[in-house]
Amino acid sequence: MTVTTDSVRSALEQAPLDKVESHLHPAGSYDVADHVVPTGREEIWRFTPLKRLRGLHADAPLDWRNTRATWNAPEGATVGVVTGDEATALRGVSGWAPNTRFTARILAEVPATLLVDVPADTEVSEPIVIDVDGTDADVTSGAHVVLRFGTHSKAVVVLNHTGSAAVSAVVEVVVADGADASVVSIQDWADDAVHLSHHQARVGRDASYKHAAISFGGDVVRMDANVTYDGPGGSAELLGLYFADAGQHIEHRIFADHTAPRTKSHAVYKGALQGEKAHTVWVGNVLIRKVAEGIETYEENRNLVLTDGCQADSIPNLEIETGEIEGAGHASATARFDDEQLFYLQSRGVSEKEAQRLVVHGFFNDLIRKVGVPSIEARLLATVEAELAKNVLKELS
Protein backbone atom coordinates (compact mmCIF):
# COMPACT_ATOMS: atom_id res chain seq x y z
CA MET A 1 0.00 0.00 0.00
CA THR A 2 1.27 3.46 -0.85
CA VAL A 3 0.26 6.87 0.16
CA THR A 4 0.10 9.65 -2.35
CA THR A 5 1.30 13.11 -1.56
CA ASP A 6 -2.21 14.27 -2.42
CA SER A 7 -3.69 12.66 0.64
CA VAL A 8 -1.05 14.34 2.77
CA ARG A 9 -1.74 17.64 1.18
CA SER A 10 -5.48 17.32 1.65
CA ALA A 11 -4.89 16.60 5.30
CA LEU A 12 -2.88 19.76 5.60
CA GLU A 13 -5.30 21.84 3.62
CA GLN A 14 -8.22 21.51 5.98
CA ALA A 15 -10.04 24.67 6.92
CA PRO A 16 -7.48 26.66 8.88
CA LEU A 17 -8.01 26.82 12.61
CA ASP A 18 -7.90 30.07 14.49
CA LYS A 19 -4.38 30.82 15.54
CA VAL A 20 -3.94 30.67 19.27
CA GLU A 21 -1.09 32.71 20.66
CA SER A 22 0.64 30.59 23.22
CA HIS A 23 4.14 29.55 24.17
CA LEU A 24 2.86 25.98 24.52
CA HIS A 25 2.42 25.33 20.84
CA PRO A 26 4.70 27.42 18.67
CA ALA A 27 3.98 27.42 14.93
CA GLY A 28 5.50 24.46 13.16
CA SER A 29 7.83 24.43 10.19
CA TYR A 30 9.45 21.75 8.05
CA ASP A 31 12.49 23.96 7.51
CA VAL A 32 15.22 23.01 9.96
CA ALA A 33 16.63 26.55 9.71
CA ASP A 34 13.44 27.86 11.32
CA HIS A 35 14.30 26.04 14.55
CA VAL A 36 17.19 27.28 16.63
CA VAL A 37 19.12 24.92 18.88
CA PRO A 38 17.44 25.09 22.30
CA THR A 39 19.44 26.61 25.14
CA GLY A 40 17.41 25.13 27.99
CA ARG A 41 15.77 28.44 28.86
CA GLU A 42 12.79 27.80 26.59
CA GLU A 43 9.54 26.86 28.32
CA ILE A 44 9.39 23.50 26.55
CA TRP A 45 13.01 22.66 27.36
CA ARG A 46 13.49 24.12 30.82
CA PHE A 47 13.27 20.78 32.65
CA THR A 48 15.28 18.68 30.20
CA PRO A 49 19.01 18.12 30.95
CA LEU A 50 20.24 19.10 27.47
CA LYS A 51 23.86 18.25 28.30
CA ARG A 52 22.94 14.60 28.68
CA LEU A 53 21.14 14.37 25.31
CA ARG A 54 24.33 13.62 23.33
CA GLY A 55 23.45 16.42 20.95
CA LEU A 56 20.14 14.91 19.82
CA HIS A 57 18.41 18.25 20.48
CA ALA A 58 21.07 20.02 18.41
CA ASP A 59 23.17 18.65 15.56
CA ALA A 60 24.18 15.10 16.42
CA PRO A 61 24.38 12.78 13.39
CA LEU A 62 21.09 10.98 12.80
CA ASP A 63 22.06 7.78 11.07
CA TRP A 64 18.87 5.75 11.10
CA ARG A 65 20.81 2.50 10.55
CA ASN A 66 22.18 2.70 14.09
CA THR A 67 18.81 1.72 15.47
CA ARG A 68 17.95 -1.88 14.85
CA ALA A 69 14.30 -2.77 14.72
CA THR A 70 12.68 -6.16 14.35
CA TRP A 71 8.99 -6.90 14.26
CA ASN A 72 6.27 -9.42 13.89
CA ALA A 73 3.59 -8.85 11.27
CA PRO A 74 0.42 -10.57 12.38
CA GLU A 75 -2.17 -11.44 9.77
CA GLY A 76 -3.96 -8.39 8.46
CA ALA A 77 -1.19 -5.86 9.05
CA THR A 78 1.88 -4.95 7.03
CA VAL A 79 5.09 -3.72 8.62
CA GLY A 80 8.15 -2.62 6.72
CA VAL A 81 10.73 0.06 5.99
CA VAL A 82 10.03 2.38 3.09
CA THR A 83 12.49 4.81 1.50
CA GLY A 84 12.69 7.42 -1.22
CA ASP A 85 9.53 9.17 -2.40
CA GLU A 86 7.39 6.80 -0.46
CA ALA A 87 9.10 7.80 2.78
CA THR A 88 9.07 11.48 1.84
CA ALA A 89 5.33 11.31 1.27
CA LEU A 90 4.85 10.13 4.82
CA ARG A 91 6.54 13.18 6.39
CA GLY A 92 3.85 15.09 8.23
CA VAL A 93 1.18 12.50 7.47
CA SER A 94 -0.31 13.20 10.91
CA GLY A 95 -1.16 16.70 9.74
CA TRP A 96 1.51 18.27 11.85
CA ALA A 97 4.55 20.38 11.18
CA PRO A 98 7.60 20.07 13.45
CA ASN A 99 7.76 22.50 16.35
CA THR A 100 11.24 21.55 17.53
CA ARG A 101 14.60 21.30 15.87
CA PHE A 102 15.03 17.60 16.49
CA THR A 103 11.66 16.70 14.95
CA ALA A 104 12.31 18.97 11.94
CA ARG A 105 15.71 17.32 11.47
CA ILE A 106 14.23 13.82 11.57
CA LEU A 107 11.64 14.68 8.95
CA ALA A 108 14.25 16.37 6.74
CA GLU A 109 17.25 14.11 7.20
CA VAL A 110 16.18 10.56 7.98
CA PRO A 111 15.66 8.91 4.59
CA ALA A 112 13.63 5.89 5.73
CA THR A 113 10.33 5.39 7.49
CA LEU A 114 9.18 2.38 9.42
CA LEU A 115 5.59 2.01 8.29
CA VAL A 116 2.85 -0.03 9.95
CA ASP A 117 -0.29 -0.27 7.88
CA VAL A 118 -3.58 -1.64 9.11
CA PRO A 119 -5.99 -1.63 6.15
CA ALA A 120 -9.54 -0.36 6.43
CA ASP A 121 -12.11 -2.66 8.04
CA THR A 122 -9.39 -4.98 9.31
CA GLU A 123 -9.22 -6.23 12.85
CA VAL A 124 -5.77 -7.47 13.84
CA SER A 125 -6.26 -9.72 16.82
CA GLU A 126 -2.64 -10.06 17.88
CA PRO A 127 -0.56 -7.03 18.94
CA ILE A 128 1.90 -5.81 16.31
CA VAL A 129 5.17 -5.70 18.21
CA ILE A 130 8.18 -3.69 17.08
CA ASP A 131 11.34 -4.30 19.06
CA VAL A 132 13.96 -1.59 18.99
CA ASP A 133 17.16 -2.81 20.52
CA GLY A 134 20.20 -0.61 20.91
CA THR A 135 23.80 -1.73 21.32
CA ASP A 136 25.74 1.51 21.75
CA ALA A 137 24.70 4.70 23.52
CA ASP A 138 27.64 6.60 21.99
CA VAL A 139 26.20 6.36 18.49
CA THR A 140 23.34 8.76 17.84
CA SER A 141 20.47 7.99 15.52
CA GLY A 142 17.10 9.26 14.40
CA ALA A 143 13.98 7.42 13.36
CA HIS A 144 10.71 8.19 11.63
CA VAL A 145 7.82 5.83 12.29
CA VAL A 146 4.33 5.95 10.84
CA LEU A 147 1.44 3.95 12.24
CA ARG A 148 -1.57 4.07 9.98
CA PHE A 149 -4.91 2.65 11.06
CA GLY A 150 -7.49 2.51 8.22
CA THR A 151 -11.16 3.38 8.60
CA HIS A 152 -12.99 1.07 11.02
CA SER A 153 -9.86 -0.97 11.61
CA LYS A 154 -8.80 -2.20 15.00
CA ALA A 155 -5.25 -2.98 16.12
CA VAL A 156 -2.67 -2.66 18.86
CA VAL A 157 0.91 -1.59 18.13
CA VAL A 158 3.63 -2.04 20.74
CA LEU A 159 6.93 -0.20 20.41
CA ASN A 160 9.37 -1.91 22.69
CA HIS A 161 12.69 -0.16 23.41
CA THR A 162 15.56 -1.98 25.09
CA GLY A 163 19.36 -1.88 25.22
CA SER A 164 21.83 1.02 24.95
CA ALA A 165 21.09 3.75 22.44
CA ALA A 166 20.90 7.48 21.84
CA VAL A 167 17.80 7.84 19.71
CA SER A 168 15.52 10.62 18.66
CA ALA A 169 12.28 9.62 17.02
CA VAL A 170 9.13 10.98 15.47
CA VAL A 171 6.17 8.62 15.56
CA GLU A 172 3.24 9.78 13.48
CA VAL A 173 -0.08 8.07 14.02
CA VAL A 174 -3.04 8.33 11.70
CA VAL A 175 -6.27 6.96 13.11
CA ALA A 176 -8.83 7.07 10.32
CA ASP A 177 -12.57 7.57 10.86
CA GLY A 178 -14.16 4.98 13.13
CA ALA A 179 -10.91 3.14 13.82
CA ASP A 180 -9.92 1.76 17.21
CA ALA A 181 -6.17 2.15 17.66
CA SER A 182 -3.88 1.43 20.58
CA VAL A 183 -0.23 2.40 20.68
CA VAL A 184 1.92 1.27 23.59
CA SER A 185 5.47 2.57 23.82
CA ILE A 186 7.67 0.88 26.38
CA GLN A 187 10.96 2.53 27.33
CA ASP A 188 12.83 -0.21 29.14
CA TRP A 189 16.29 0.95 28.11
CA ALA A 190 19.64 0.19 29.68
CA ASP A 191 20.99 2.73 32.20
CA ASP A 192 23.02 4.73 29.67
CA ALA A 193 20.35 5.19 27.00
CA VAL A 194 19.04 8.56 25.84
CA HIS A 195 15.67 8.76 24.12
CA LEU A 196 14.01 11.87 22.78
CA SER A 197 10.70 11.25 21.06
CA HIS A 198 7.65 12.97 19.70
CA HIS A 199 4.43 11.02 19.11
CA GLN A 200 1.89 12.87 17.05
CA ALA A 201 -1.56 11.43 16.42
CA ARG A 202 -4.41 12.57 14.24
CA VAL A 203 -7.69 11.07 15.42
CA GLY A 204 -10.47 10.73 12.87
CA ARG A 205 -14.18 11.18 13.18
CA ASP A 206 -15.67 8.83 15.80
CA ALA A 207 -12.31 7.08 16.15
CA SER A 208 -10.76 5.93 19.42
CA TYR A 209 -7.10 6.28 20.14
CA LYS A 210 -5.32 4.91 23.14
CA HIS A 211 -1.71 5.86 23.76
CA ALA A 212 0.25 4.33 26.62
CA ALA A 213 3.71 5.63 27.51
CA ILE A 214 5.59 3.32 29.83
CA SER A 215 9.05 4.43 30.95
CA PHE A 216 11.29 2.50 33.30
CA GLY A 217 14.86 2.50 32.00
CA GLY A 218 17.28 4.95 30.43
CA ASP A 219 19.44 7.87 31.56
CA VAL A 220 17.20 10.48 29.93
CA VAL A 221 13.80 9.66 28.46
CA ARG A 222 11.64 12.44 27.14
CA MET A 223 8.46 11.85 25.22
CA ASP A 224 5.91 14.29 23.88
CA ALA A 225 2.60 12.59 23.11
CA ASN A 226 0.30 14.88 21.13
CA VAL A 227 -3.16 14.50 19.71
CA THR A 228 -5.24 16.47 17.26
CA TYR A 229 -8.68 15.62 15.92
CA ASP A 230 -9.83 15.33 12.34
CA GLY A 231 -13.54 15.42 12.98
CA PRO A 232 -16.20 15.31 15.67
CA GLY A 233 -16.63 12.32 17.98
CA GLY A 234 -12.98 11.31 18.22
CA SER A 235 -11.65 10.26 21.56
CA ALA A 236 -8.16 9.91 22.97
CA GLU A 237 -7.04 8.13 26.10
CA LEU A 238 -3.50 9.06 27.06
CA LEU A 239 -1.96 6.81 29.67
CA GLY A 240 1.45 6.93 31.27
CA LEU A 241 3.34 4.86 33.77
CA TYR A 242 6.88 5.63 34.85
CA PHE A 243 9.34 4.60 37.52
CA ALA A 244 12.46 6.73 37.98
CA ASP A 245 15.50 5.46 39.85
CA ALA A 246 18.54 7.35 41.15
CA GLY A 247 19.91 9.77 38.57
CA GLN A 248 17.25 9.09 35.94
CA HIS A 249 15.39 11.87 34.16
CA ILE A 250 12.01 10.80 32.83
CA GLU A 251 9.91 13.47 31.20
CA HIS A 252 6.46 13.09 29.70
CA ARG A 253 4.54 15.82 28.00
CA ILE A 254 1.14 15.51 26.47
CA PHE A 255 -0.79 17.92 24.31
CA ALA A 256 -4.44 17.28 23.54
CA ASP A 257 -5.33 19.89 20.95
CA HIS A 258 -9.11 19.86 20.63
CA THR A 259 -9.39 20.88 17.00
CA ALA A 260 -12.90 19.49 16.46
CA PRO A 261 -16.22 19.59 18.29
CA ARG A 262 -17.52 16.83 20.61
CA THR A 263 -14.11 15.23 20.98
CA LYS A 264 -12.74 13.70 24.15
CA SER A 265 -9.37 13.48 25.83
CA HIS A 266 -8.64 11.66 29.03
CA ALA A 267 -5.11 11.49 30.39
CA VAL A 268 -3.85 9.54 33.38
CA TYR A 269 -0.12 9.49 34.12
CA LYS A 270 1.23 7.84 37.23
CA GLY A 271 4.81 7.68 38.38
CA ALA A 272 6.98 6.51 41.22
CA LEU A 273 10.38 7.87 42.15
CA GLN A 274 13.18 6.39 44.22
CA GLY A 275 16.82 7.21 44.84
CA GLU A 276 19.07 10.29 44.79
CA LYS A 277 18.34 12.70 41.95
CA ALA A 278 15.55 10.65 40.42
CA HIS A 279 13.68 13.30 38.45
CA THR A 280 10.34 13.05 36.70
CA VAL A 281 8.49 15.71 34.76
CA TRP A 282 4.93 15.67 33.61
CA VAL A 283 3.47 18.54 31.62
CA GLY A 284 -0.13 18.13 30.54
CA ASN A 285 -1.27 20.62 27.94
CA VAL A 286 -4.86 20.80 26.80
CA LEU A 287 -6.13 23.37 24.34
CA ILE A 288 -9.84 23.75 23.72
CA ARG A 289 -10.11 25.75 20.53
CA LYS A 290 -13.04 27.96 19.63
CA VAL A 291 -14.35 25.36 17.21
CA ALA A 292 -14.24 22.59 19.87
CA GLU A 293 -17.72 22.93 21.34
CA GLY A 294 -19.14 20.10 23.39
CA ILE A 295 -15.78 18.51 24.16
CA GLU A 296 -14.79 16.70 27.32
CA THR A 297 -11.32 16.62 28.78
CA TYR A 298 -9.75 15.44 31.99
CA GLU A 299 -6.10 15.03 32.82
CA GLU A 300 -4.52 13.64 35.90
CA ASN A 301 -0.97 13.07 37.13
CA ARG A 302 -0.05 11.30 40.36
CA ASN A 303 3.42 10.76 41.72
CA LEU A 304 4.50 8.57 44.57
CA VAL A 305 7.81 9.57 46.13
CA LEU A 306 9.35 6.50 47.73
CA THR A 307 12.63 7.89 49.10
CA ASP A 308 14.38 11.16 49.91
CA GLY A 309 16.33 13.01 47.24
CA CYS A 310 13.77 12.73 44.39
CA GLN A 311 12.06 15.46 42.46
CA ALA A 312 8.71 15.24 40.68
CA ASP A 313 7.54 18.19 38.62
CA SER A 314 3.90 18.13 37.59
CA ILE A 315 2.29 20.88 35.56
CA PRO A 316 -1.21 20.73 34.11
CA ASN A 317 -2.06 23.49 31.62
CA LEU A 318 -5.56 24.07 30.35
CA GLU A 319 -6.28 26.74 27.75
CA ILE A 320 -9.92 27.34 26.97
CA GLU A 321 -11.11 29.33 23.95
CA THR A 322 -14.75 28.35 24.29
CA GLY A 323 -16.98 27.79 27.30
CA GLU A 324 -19.48 25.69 25.35
CA ILE A 325 -18.07 22.38 26.55
CA GLU A 326 -19.23 19.29 28.43
CA GLY A 327 -16.42 19.33 30.91
CA ALA A 328 -12.78 20.13 31.54
CA GLY A 329 -10.70 19.29 34.55
CA HIS A 330 -7.33 18.33 35.83
CA ALA A 331 -5.70 16.94 38.93
CA SER A 332 -2.13 16.65 40.07
CA ALA A 333 -0.79 15.16 43.26
CA THR A 334 2.68 14.26 44.46
CA ALA A 335 2.99 12.52 47.78
CA ARG A 336 4.91 10.11 49.92
CA PHE A 337 3.41 6.97 51.37
CA ASP A 338 0.19 7.70 53.20
CA ASP A 339 0.82 6.88 56.88
CA GLU A 340 -2.84 6.07 57.47
CA GLN A 341 -2.84 3.53 54.62
CA LEU A 342 0.29 1.87 55.97
CA PHE A 343 -1.13 1.85 59.52
CA TYR A 344 -4.35 0.25 58.32
CA LEU A 345 -2.51 -2.53 56.49
CA GLN A 346 -0.05 -3.07 59.34
CA SER A 347 -2.86 -3.26 61.86
CA ARG A 348 -3.94 -6.34 59.89
CA GLY A 349 -0.59 -8.02 60.53
CA VAL A 350 1.06 -7.00 57.26
CA SER A 351 4.70 -5.91 57.72
CA GLU A 352 5.69 -2.35 56.83
CA LYS A 353 7.62 -3.40 53.71
CA GLU A 354 4.83 -5.65 52.51
CA ALA A 355 2.34 -2.85 53.15
CA GLN A 356 4.44 -0.47 51.04
CA ARG A 357 4.60 -3.07 48.30
CA LEU A 358 0.82 -3.46 48.34
CA VAL A 359 0.31 0.29 48.17
CA VAL A 360 2.69 0.74 45.19
CA HIS A 361 1.15 -2.16 43.29
CA GLY A 362 -2.28 -0.76 44.07
CA PHE A 363 -1.16 2.67 42.85
CA PHE A 364 -0.27 1.24 39.43
CA ASN A 365 -2.80 -1.61 39.15
CA ASP A 366 -5.77 0.30 37.75
CA LEU A 367 -3.53 1.94 35.17
CA ILE A 368 -1.96 -1.34 34.08
CA ARG A 369 -5.43 -2.78 33.60
CA LYS A 370 -6.36 0.25 31.47
CA VAL A 371 -3.46 -0.39 29.09
CA GLY A 372 -5.56 -3.41 28.17
CA VAL A 373 -2.93 -5.58 26.47
CA PRO A 374 -2.84 -8.88 28.40
CA SER A 375 0.61 -9.90 27.14
CA ILE A 376 2.03 -6.62 28.47
CA GLU A 377 0.12 -6.64 31.74
CA ALA A 378 2.12 -9.48 33.28
CA ARG A 379 5.39 -7.90 32.17
CA LEU A 380 4.44 -4.54 33.68
CA LEU A 381 3.51 -6.11 37.00
CA ALA A 382 6.85 -7.94 37.02
CA THR A 383 8.72 -4.74 36.17
CA VAL A 384 7.02 -2.84 38.99
CA GLU A 385 8.02 -5.68 41.31
CA ALA A 386 11.63 -5.53 40.05
CA GLU A 387 11.74 -1.76 40.57
CA LEU A 388 10.42 -2.17 44.10
CA ALA A 389 13.10 -4.72 44.83
CA LYS A 390 15.73 -2.00 44.28
CA ASN A 391 14.58 0.04 47.25
CA VAL A 392 11.33 -0.59 49.03
CA LEU A 393 11.79 -4.32 49.34
CA LYS A 394 15.55 -4.35 49.70
CA GLU A 395 15.40 -5.29 53.37
CA LEU A 396 13.02 -8.14 52.65
CA SER A 397 15.32 -10.08 50.38
Partner: protein
Protein backbone atom coordinates in the same frame (compact mmCIF):
# COMPACT_ATOMS: atom_id res chain seq x y z
CA UNK B 1 -6.54 -17.86 76.67
CA UNK B 2 -6.69 -14.13 76.05
CA UNK B 3 -6.15 -11.57 78.76
CA UNK B 4 -5.56 -7.92 77.97
CA UNK B 5 -4.22 -5.89 80.89
CA UNK B 6 -3.93 -2.12 80.65
CA UNK B 7 -2.16 -0.55 83.62
CA UNK B 8 -1.91 3.18 84.36
CA UNK B 9 -1.59 4.05 80.66
CA UNK B 10 -0.53 7.63 79.91
CA UNK B 11 -0.56 8.87 76.31
CA UNK B 12 0.21 12.22 74.72
CA UNK B 13 -0.31 13.59 71.25
CA UNK B 14 1.81 16.32 69.64
CA UNK B 15 0.02 19.61 69.07
CA UNK B 16 1.23 23.02 67.93
CA UNK B 17 1.47 24.00 71.61
CA UNK B 18 3.59 20.95 72.45
CA UNK B 19 2.57 17.53 73.70
CA UNK B 20 -0.92 17.24 75.15
CA UNK B 21 -1.86 14.46 77.52
CA UNK B 22 -4.97 12.59 76.35
CA UNK B 23 -4.89 9.43 78.45
CA UNK B 24 -4.23 10.14 82.11
CA UNK B 25 -3.75 6.75 83.69
CA UNK B 26 -6.06 4.11 82.26
CA UNK B 27 -6.32 0.83 84.14
CA UNK B 28 -8.46 -1.96 82.78
CA UNK B 29 -8.35 -5.75 82.60
CA UNK B 30 -10.24 -7.76 80.00
CA UNK B 31 -10.22 -11.32 81.19
CA UNK B 32 -10.54 -14.43 79.11
CA UNK B 33 -13.81 -14.38 77.15
CA UNK B 34 -15.06 -11.06 78.51
CA UNK B 35 -16.71 -8.19 76.67
CA UNK B 36 -16.13 -4.71 78.05
CA UNK B 37 -17.97 -1.63 76.87
CA UNK B 38 -16.27 1.73 77.15
CA UNK B 39 -18.67 4.62 77.00
CA UNK B 40 -17.86 8.27 77.11
CA UNK B 41 -18.58 11.70 75.73
CA UNK B 42 -16.79 13.13 72.70
CA UNK B 43 -13.19 14.06 73.37
CA UNK B 44 -12.85 11.85 76.41
CA UNK B 45 -10.00 9.88 74.82
CA UNK B 46 -11.86 6.67 73.91
CA UNK B 47 -10.47 6.47 70.39
CA UNK B 48 -7.00 7.42 71.62
CA UNK B 49 -7.15 4.36 73.85
CA UNK B 50 -8.07 2.17 70.86
CA UNK B 51 -5.33 3.58 68.60
CA UNK B 52 -2.71 3.51 71.36
CA UNK B 53 -3.34 -0.19 71.93
CA UNK B 54 -3.00 -0.81 68.17
CA UNK B 55 0.19 1.28 68.00
CA UNK B 56 -0.71 4.29 65.83
CA UNK B 57 2.46 6.41 65.39
CA UNK B 58 0.57 9.63 66.17
CA UNK B 59 0.37 8.75 69.86
CA UNK B 60 3.24 8.70 72.34
CA UNK B 61 3.09 6.41 75.35
CA UNK B 62 4.53 8.29 78.32
CA UNK B 63 3.75 5.78 81.06
CA UNK B 64 2.06 2.55 82.00
CA UNK B 65 1.84 -0.81 80.30
CA UNK B 66 -0.34 -2.97 78.09
CA UNK B 67 0.07 -6.74 78.06
CA UNK B 68 -1.65 -9.50 76.13
CA UNK B 69 -1.36 -12.85 77.87
CA UNK B 70 1.64 -11.46 79.71
CA UNK B 71 3.43 -10.23 76.56
CA UNK B 72 4.43 -6.55 76.50
CA UNK B 73 2.33 -5.09 73.67
CA UNK B 74 3.84 -1.59 73.70
CA UNK B 75 7.29 -2.82 72.64
CA UNK B 76 5.82 -4.42 69.50
CA UNK B 77 5.39 -2.80 66.08
CA UNK B 78 1.89 -2.33 64.70
CA UNK B 79 1.99 -5.50 62.61
CA UNK B 80 3.57 -7.51 65.43
CA UNK B 81 0.67 -6.51 67.69
CA UNK B 82 -1.79 -7.79 65.10
CA UNK B 83 0.13 -11.04 64.79
CA UNK B 84 0.17 -11.34 68.59
CA UNK B 85 -3.64 -11.40 68.48
CA UNK B 86 -4.91 -7.81 68.62
CA UNK B 87 -7.45 -6.45 66.17
CA UNK B 88 -8.73 -2.91 65.81
CA UNK B 89 -11.99 -2.31 63.96
CA UNK B 90 -11.66 1.31 62.92
CA UNK B 91 -14.18 4.07 63.06
CA UNK B 92 -12.89 5.44 59.76
CA UNK B 93 -11.38 2.57 57.75
CA UNK B 94 -8.82 3.78 55.20
CA UNK B 95 -9.06 3.51 51.41
CA UNK B 96 -6.29 1.55 49.71
CA UNK B 97 -6.64 2.27 45.96
CA UNK B 98 -5.89 -0.54 43.55
CA UNK B 99 -5.81 -3.25 46.23
CA UNK B 100 -8.75 -5.63 46.02
CA UNK B 101 -10.59 -6.82 49.12
CA UNK B 102 -9.78 -10.46 48.32
CA UNK B 103 -6.06 -9.71 47.85
CA UNK B 104 -6.06 -7.66 51.07
CA UNK B 105 -7.81 -10.37 53.10
CA UNK B 106 -5.51 -13.10 51.79
CA UNK B 107 -2.39 -11.01 52.46
CA UNK B 108 -3.55 -10.23 55.99
CA UNK B 109 -4.50 -13.83 56.74
CA UNK B 110 -1.14 -15.04 55.45
CA UNK B 111 0.67 -12.48 57.62
CA UNK B 112 -1.32 -13.35 60.77
CA UNK B 113 -1.02 -17.13 60.36
CA UNK B 114 2.56 -17.09 59.06
CA UNK B 115 1.51 -19.21 56.08
CA UNK B 116 -0.88 -18.88 53.16
CA UNK B 117 -4.37 -20.20 53.88
CA UNK B 118 -5.45 -23.37 52.08
CA UNK B 119 -7.03 -22.09 48.90
CA UNK B 120 -10.16 -24.23 48.89
CA UNK B 121 -11.29 -23.64 52.46
CA UNK B 122 -10.20 -20.00 52.32
CA UNK B 123 -12.42 -19.08 49.38
CA UNK B 124 -15.31 -20.78 51.14
CA UNK B 125 -14.58 -18.98 54.41
CA UNK B 126 -14.36 -15.59 52.71
CA UNK B 127 -17.60 -16.09 50.82
CA UNK B 128 -19.37 -17.24 53.98
CA UNK B 129 -18.07 -14.27 56.00
CA UNK B 130 -19.13 -11.78 53.32
CA UNK B 131 -22.53 -13.40 52.94
CA UNK B 132 -23.23 -13.39 56.67
CA UNK B 133 -22.52 -9.67 56.69
CA UNK B 134 -24.82 -9.17 53.74
CA UNK B 135 -21.98 -8.19 51.42
CA UNK B 136 -22.29 -9.02 47.73
CA UNK B 137 -19.98 -11.81 46.41
CA UNK B 138 -18.45 -9.27 43.99
CA UNK B 139 -17.33 -7.31 47.06
CA UNK B 140 -13.99 -9.16 46.91
CA UNK B 141 -13.11 -7.56 43.58
CA UNK B 142 -13.62 -4.00 44.84
CA UNK B 143 -10.73 -1.91 46.08
CA UNK B 144 -10.37 -1.77 49.87
CA UNK B 145 -12.80 0.81 51.28
CA UNK B 146 -12.85 2.72 47.99
CA UNK B 147 -16.36 3.93 47.28
CA UNK B 148 -17.78 1.87 50.14
CA UNK B 149 -20.83 3.22 51.92
CA UNK B 150 -20.45 3.85 55.65
CA UNK B 151 -22.26 0.60 56.39
CA UNK B 152 -20.12 -1.40 53.95
CA UNK B 153 -16.95 -0.12 55.60
CA UNK B 154 -18.11 -1.30 59.04
CA UNK B 155 -19.35 -4.65 57.76
CA UNK B 156 -16.02 -5.13 56.00
CA UNK B 157 -14.23 -4.49 59.32
CA UNK B 158 -16.32 -7.16 61.01
CA UNK B 159 -15.74 -9.61 58.13
CA UNK B 160 -12.01 -9.14 58.78
CA UNK B 161 -12.58 -9.73 62.49
CA UNK B 162 -14.24 -13.05 61.79
CA UNK B 163 -11.66 -14.16 59.21
CA UNK B 164 -8.50 -13.03 61.00
CA UNK B 165 -9.74 -14.47 64.30
CA UNK B 166 -7.72 -12.42 66.82
CA UNK B 167 -7.60 -13.02 70.58
CA UNK B 168 -8.86 -9.57 71.51
CA UNK B 169 -10.86 -7.20 69.34
CA UNK B 170 -11.02 -3.47 69.95
CA UNK B 171 -14.08 -2.02 68.22
CA UNK B 172 -13.83 1.75 67.88
CA UNK B 173 -17.32 3.20 67.48
CA UNK B 174 -18.24 0.45 65.05
CA UNK B 175 -21.89 1.40 65.62
CA UNK B 176 -21.58 5.05 64.63
CA UNK B 177 -23.33 6.01 61.43
CA UNK B 178 -25.15 2.69 61.05
CA UNK B 179 -28.87 2.35 60.48
CA UNK B 180 -30.72 -0.19 62.57
CA UNK B 181 -30.50 -3.02 60.02
CA UNK B 182 -26.78 -2.58 59.53
CA UNK B 183 -26.31 -2.32 63.30
CA UNK B 184 -28.02 -5.69 63.75
CA UNK B 185 -25.89 -7.33 61.05
CA UNK B 186 -22.68 -5.93 62.54
CA UNK B 187 -23.73 -6.95 66.07
CA UNK B 188 -24.48 -10.50 64.94
CA UNK B 189 -20.98 -10.68 63.48
CA UNK B 190 -19.44 -9.50 66.75
CA UNK B 191 -21.58 -12.00 68.68
CA UNK B 192 -20.43 -14.86 66.43
CA UNK B 193 -16.86 -13.86 67.26
CA UNK B 194 -17.65 -13.68 71.00
CA UNK B 195 -19.16 -17.15 70.88
CA UNK B 196 -15.73 -18.54 70.00
CA UNK B 197 -13.60 -19.89 72.84
CA UNK B 198 -11.95 -17.26 75.04
CA UNK B 199 -12.33 -14.15 72.85
CA UNK B 200 -12.02 -10.72 74.42
CA UNK B 201 -13.84 -7.63 73.15
CA UNK B 202 -13.32 -3.98 74.00
CA UNK B 203 -16.34 -2.19 72.62
CA UNK B 204 -15.92 1.57 72.43
CA UNK B 205 -19.10 3.50 71.86
CA UNK B 206 -20.75 6.84 72.31
CA UNK B 207 -24.29 5.43 72.36
CA UNK B 208 -26.00 2.72 74.41
CA UNK B 209 -27.92 1.52 71.32
CA UNK B 210 -25.43 -1.21 70.32
CA UNK B 211 -25.51 -2.67 73.86
CA UNK B 212 -29.04 -3.91 73.15
CA UNK B 213 -27.50 -6.31 70.63
CA UNK B 214 -24.11 -6.95 72.19
CA UNK B 215 -24.45 -7.54 75.90
CA UNK B 216 -21.30 -6.52 77.77
CA UNK B 217 -19.98 -8.19 80.92
CA UNK B 218 -18.62 -4.89 82.18
CA UNK B 219 -19.34 -1.25 81.40
CA UNK B 220 -16.88 1.58 82.01
CA UNK B 221 -17.54 5.28 81.86
CA UNK B 222 -14.60 7.07 80.27
CA UNK B 223 -14.14 10.75 81.11
CA UNK B 224 -11.14 13.04 80.66
CA UNK B 225 -8.65 10.34 79.76
CA UNK B 226 -9.47 7.76 82.40
CA UNK B 227 -12.08 5.38 83.69
CA UNK B 228 -14.47 7.36 85.90
CA UNK B 229 -16.79 4.54 86.89
CA UNK B 230 -17.18 0.82 86.28
CA UNK B 231 -20.09 -1.52 86.69
CA UNK B 232 -22.32 -4.04 85.01
CA UNK B 233 -24.92 -3.58 82.32
CA UNK B 234 -27.04 -1.45 84.70
CA UNK B 235 -24.44 1.32 84.32
CA UNK B 236 -25.31 1.55 80.63
CA UNK B 237 -29.01 1.81 81.47
CA UNK B 238 -28.25 4.59 83.92
CA UNK B 239 -26.18 6.43 81.28
CA UNK B 240 -29.02 6.10 78.81
CA UNK B 241 -31.40 7.69 81.29
CA UNK B 242 -29.12 10.38 82.74
CA UNK B 243 -26.41 11.03 80.19
CA UNK B 244 -22.81 11.85 81.08
CA UNK B 245 -23.56 15.02 83.05
CA UNK B 246 -22.95 13.65 86.52
CA UNK B 247 -19.45 12.55 85.42
CA UNK B 248 -18.67 15.79 83.66
CA UNK B 249 -19.84 18.00 86.55
CA UNK B 250 -19.19 15.99 89.70
CA UNK B 251 -20.43 18.88 91.89
CA UNK B 252 -23.96 18.60 90.57
CA UNK B 253 -24.20 14.88 91.29
Amino acid sequence: MSKLVITDLHVTVDTEDGPKEILKGVTLTIDDGETHAIMGPNGSGKSTLAYSIAGHPKYTITGGSVTLDGQDVLSLSVDERARAGLFLAMQYPVEVPGVSVSNFLRTAKTAIDGEAPKLRTWVKDVNAALEQLNLDPTFGTRNVNEGFSGGEKKRHEIAQLELLDPKVAVLDETDSGLDIDALKIVSEGVNRFRAREGKGVLLITHYTRILRYIEPDHVHVFVDGKVAASGGKELADQLEAEGYDRYLNPASA
